[in-house]
């Protein structure tokens, strides 16, 4: 028995309302079905019954229409759903439909857009088992889109061992990020080790941080009064002079970089 379109789209249909068909295609609900007039265009029918569709739902609709061999004016339909019917949208839909159902479920729940799923376009094999983890680990939309970007790059680069060690998505992100950025991660780690070894006063908090393309020493300390202020600045000056003498090129990448 073919599922009604509304159930494929996960679109609730009132229990007390009967089902509807159009040109023998089951559109919504359950028996008894009422056949709607075929004077109504399929585009009008779909937009009337399913006023809003996210990308996942639109892709399912597209798949359903192809399986039913229905001729649809996709340009017209897309306008209603604030999409632009184009080759790239079609490619993204097709790529998405080839991913594991577990991944699709996560995309549906997080309401991912076509743009969020653009990284899939480079994957040769979209039915990748790593993607199944999205539904069990349930990263947030923002985490998940970043993870997806990294996974697609790493799979396409032939990097193995992409599975997480735990269910912690932040740790998974860190692992994948390191695999994708091996050199800059190693460099940041070297900088961090270097500055940690400096003679910082015990009440200074120091860390090597990165914001975008900039990496830096992050220093924080408390100042209680003017004397304390003078003392802390003098201590900072001491560390600066020590670094200039013992580690003068500390801020430069190594020569093989």
């Amino acid at each position: 028995m073919k599922h009604a379109l509304n159930s494929l789209l996960n679109y609730t249909w009132p229990k007390h309302a009967g089902g509807v068909t159009w040109n023998q295609h089951t559109i919504a609900g359950a028996e008894p079905y009422k056949e709607l007039s075929d004077k109504l265009s399929i585009e009008e029918l779909l937009t009337d019954l399913f006023d809003t569709l996210n990308f996942s739902q639109f892709s399912i609709l597209y798949n359903w229409a192809n399986e039913c061999s229905l001729e649809i004016d996709w340009n017209k339909l897309c306008q209603h759903y604030n999409l632009r019917w184009s080759e790239i949208l079609k490619e993204t839909i097709q790529a998405y439909l080839e991913t594991p159902i577990e991944f699709q479920n996560w995309c549906f729940n997080k309401k991912l857009s076509a743009r969020d799923l653009a990284p899939l376009l480079i994957l040769e094999n979209k039915d990748n088992t790593v993607l199944k983890l999205f539904s069990t680990l349930t990263p947030s939309k923002s985490e998940g889109t970043q993870l997806l970007d990294l996974i697609c790059d790493l799979v396409s680069m032939g990097v193995k061992n992409l599975f997480p060690e735990t269910e912690d998505t932040k740790k998974w992100f860190k692992k994948l990020y390191k695999l994708r950025h091996p050199q800059s991660t190693a460099t940041d780690s070297q900088f961090s080790d270097k500055i940690t070894a400096w003679p910082w006063p015990k009440d200074f908090n120091t860390d090597w941080k990165r914001t975008g393309d900039k990496s830096f020493i992050d220093i924080s300390f408390k100042v209680e009064n003017q004397n304390d202020f003078d003392k802390k600045l003098s201590q900072l000056n001491y560390v600066k002079d020590w670094a200039n003498t013992n580690s003068p090129t500390w801020d430069q990448p190594k020569d093989n970089q």
Partner: protein
């Protein structure tokens, strides 16, 4: 000459010089009354973008040809460059090309009305002939790769000879210069090349002239009485980057002198984040550009780590200065702190670069445009 799969000419361009040239060269075209393939306009797929380089459209341009360089953004130390757009898209195929995030047309377009662009410049010339404009034609299309078809270099060189204070810059990755050499000398016409070590040219700059051929073309231009310039841009990190870029510096400094060129510009790989998808689809993950470790920067573009960029710039600039302190080098689309680290001063305080960064000209032109409109 570039081979196009299809050529369209709008009916309002059928009598243009370009259309006549197509006939001279026995290149068949279809006359159209409206822009073809309009249903394909918008964000292009990878294959649509590939195809757009093979479909030529010649039409009249109704807008403003002359503008400030669109690369100038808040937070960057930008020069006072202006652009004259005589077309859109490029027939060559560099993996990092920013046109991949900019072009939304399935066609490579050439504007047929170069005379109108010159008329625009003539108007400006009446009140601004003594100002030192630097105007390039290679922002959204290669200046010379299709010039053997359009011969626009002829029109432009003849005009710029009448405004000696203005500089015209052709920016190219081709070696197509033979057809305008006879128009030299013209000391305010700069023929410039984007350069990279041959290793990068072969792996990332598809369909372009080899490094050797670009340098030969540059020599021809000097001999014919033109100025030249080089843009080592984008600098692309790879395993032997130091050896390769120092090798490039050697090749340049052995064949040319600082007096041959008013400047060399330097820039590192950078692009808008949304561009990464189409780049990966078109060039795969073997491309150095697609596997690069990049980060979000202040202007939103993806760039190398700032310290790494600094290191690469310092290495290249030092290599030039060690060979001759007179080499004039400036950074393209970089932040002030990168300038300061590389040059110990900002460009307005650097000998030989002050006039390139004089923003009074930009303000003056803005006022002129407001009056015209």
């Amino acid at each position: 000459m570039t081979v196009f799969e299809k050529i369209f000419v709008h009916k309002n361009a059928v009598d243009s010089k370009v259309a006549l040239r197509l006939k001279e060269l026995n290149l068949n075209f279809e006359v159209v009354s409206e822009e073809p393939l309009q249903d394909k306009k918008g964000e292009l797929s990878a294959s649509e973008f590939d195809k757009s380089k093979k479909q030529l459209y010649v039409k009249k341009f109704e807008g403003q040809f002359f503008k400030r360089c669109p690369g100038a953004k808040p937070g960057l130390t930008c020069c006072n460059y202006f652009v004259l757009n005589l077309g859109q898209q490029c027939d060559m195929n560099c993996s990092y090309c920013y046109l991949q995030s900019f072009i939304n047309s399935p066609l490579l377009t050439i504007y047929s009305n170069v005379d109108d662009s010159i008329a625009e410049l003539e108007k400006m010339k009446q009140s601004m002939a003594n100002d030192k404009f630097r105007i390039g034609t290679g922002e959204v299309i290669d200046s010379l790769s299709l010039d053997d078809l359009t011969l626009y270099s002829h029109d432009l060189i003849e005009f710029f000879k009448t405004v000696p204070n203005w500089q015209l810059e052709f920016k190219t990755k081709s070696d197509k210069v033979d057809h305008f050499l006879h128009l030299g000398p013209a000391k305010n016409v700069i023929v410039s090349w984007s350069l990279n070590p041959e290793f990068i040219v072969s792996s990332e700059e598809h369909g372009t002239a080899s490094l050797a051929n670009r340098l030969i073309a540059a020599k021809k231009c000097i001999d014919a009485g033109f100025k030249i310039a080089f843009h080592i841009d984008p600098v692309i990190w790879h395993e032997n980057w130091k050896e390769n870029y120092l090798g490039l510096v050697d090749q340049i400094t052995k064949q040319f002198k600082p007096s041959d060129m008013p400047y060399i510009s330097l820039g590192a790989l950078r692009f808008q984040p949304e561009q990464r998808h189409i780049m990966k689809q078109r060039f795969g993950m073997k491309s150095l550009v697609n596997t690069a470790e990049l980060f979000s920067s202040a202007d939103g573009k993806l760039r190398y780590d700032q310290k790494l960029r600094q290191h690469m710039f310092d290495t290249i600039i030092s290599a030039f200065k060690e060979r001759d302190s007179k080499w004039n080098i400036f950074l393209c689309m970089e932040q002030p702190e990168t300038w300061l680290a590389a040059n110990k001063s900002l460009p307005k305080q650097t000998d030989g670069l002050e006039s390139l960064f004089d923003h009074n000209l930009i303000r003056k032109h803005k006022k002129f445009s407001e009056i015209q409109s």
